[in-house]
Subunit: 274 residues, 2 copies
């Protein structure tokens, strides 16, 4: 790898708009880097699909980002991180790939060593047990419970981020758990949509519970890895952002603006075919 | 078309499992017919996708059903009916195609002539205004309001069919409407997921409000059209059912069983590639 690689972009991939929470953290951590974000909105949600389909879609999305000459891939989708990270690493080699599961698990065990962690995620992420494995490899004493909460994905997309409806939905999901699991030390937001619902989770869980998401720890891990590999861009460069989606620029702009925390229009989104 | 065509199957297409409510009505109306149901679970939901993608997916699904030698296509998905019916008719000609929008509109204007109708549907169905056009062509005096309710799709898939959470969600959506629209004469369930939430709608709307879904009127229209074309199967024949899905047999069986009103296992589902 030569020094010229530093000027290339960081590719960020998600099943839709949820990964923009990770993108926002990457921008804050590395304002000088060029970022290319691809949301596979034509085929979202990944969370209810089979591992084989999720892996195929993730590899196709990565191939498209590779054509954009990226120097690193950040898999901002928890489901794709849980299912397809090995396949994507193979496809990207020798270039680095970072998923959101290990950074999320790291944040949780750092906040509450030896604690009891509750992972809220999609069906596919829970079924694969990726957070459980990541947490136990970092902290064998930790206890882990996992809960699939599909309805919270739609809730966040609808923009109903706080209030009685969201709280009632979270409470209803918690009823599926044994008593002890309902009083965790940390709640891991194991889906990129869920950080939008932070106020809802804060209202449901006790003040002492750490609400953990992967965005900041993933961004930090990405910055450190680029530095380590010597392919970080100069700090005084101007960063930029390209937004790609596989369908629905108008909807991407409307919903995505909420996640990114600024107004977007359909003209900001380039629609690509996979 | 020759008499042998009568022994062929009726193809039923939906973006996922919601169309099983229509399939159930078709079975009840024509127990002697052979039915082949295809749920495009790999690419659901259609309701938030662009018209171009929806039409492409619907045409691919129809091509697969054509390979199964069907004599008629029933488009059980409201979104695909709203977006792609003309394209599917062209592809299927000279064989007949029935969507769910016109039968649903017919049921509503028959129940409440000259009335005010509230259409609850997906974003794409509302954006296309297909119900509005169908109702006005049948009853120019009718008033029509349309409301996109994406969250109700996930609610039905989760099986939370009645209770306070669903009622609160419907009430919250109704707040988007002007006062008069919140007191309709009929509520049209313009998404095949919504008949599962009938108890929720009954709790929210006054007793005098007609809750209309397309399933029964679509099944009746299909039976009449087959008879008219002379391709109905003999009444004393034994019907059968083939269930196809593009992804996730296990999830299809679990969620689909709720819609069909009987237990399914993954072995009942044939996974096909589109």
């Amino acid at each position: 790898m030569n020094a010229a690689d530093a000027t290339r972009s960081i590719g960020v991939f998600d099943s839709g708009v949820g990964g923009l929470t990770v993108l926002k953290a990457l921008q804050a951590e590395m304002p000088h880097e060029r970022l290319v974000y691809l949301g596979d909105t034509a085929r979202l949600p990944y969370g209810t699909k089979s591992p084989a389909s999720i892996a195929r879609y993730a590899c196709q999305a990565t191939a498209l980002l590779q054509q954009r000459d990226i120097k690193m891939l950040v898999v901002a989708c928890n489901t794709a991180s849980a299912v397809a990270l090995d396949a994507l690493r193979e496809q990207m080699q020798p270039l680095p790939v970072i998923g959101v599961v290990v950074p999320g698990a790291t944040a949780a065990v750092t906040a509450k060593p030896g604690g009891r962690h509750l992972v809220l995620a999609t069906e596919a992420t829970v079924r694969l047990g990726a957070y459980r494995a990541a947490i136990h490899s970092l902290d064998p004493q930790a206890a882990v419970d996992e809960l699939a909460c599909e309805l919270l994905v739609s809730l966040a997309e609808e923009g109903w981020n706080d209030g009685a409806i969201g709280e009632a939905i979270v409470q209803r999901y918690l009823e599926e758990l044994p008593d002890a699991a309902r009083r965790p030390d940390s709640v891991i937001l194991g889906c990129t949509h869920f950080p939008l619902l932070r106020d809802t989770f804060r209202a449901v869980f006790d003040d002492g519970v750490a609400i953990v998401d992967s965005a900041n720890t993933t961004a930090r891990a990405a910055r450190e890895l680029l530095a380590e590999l010597g392919i970080a861009r100069d700090d005084d460069a101007d960063g930029d952002l390209t937004l790609l989606a596989t369908d629905g620029a108008t909807r991407f702009a409307r919903v995505g603006g909420q996640f990114l925390g600024r107004d977007l229009t359909w003209k900001d989104i380039e629609v690509v075919d996979l």
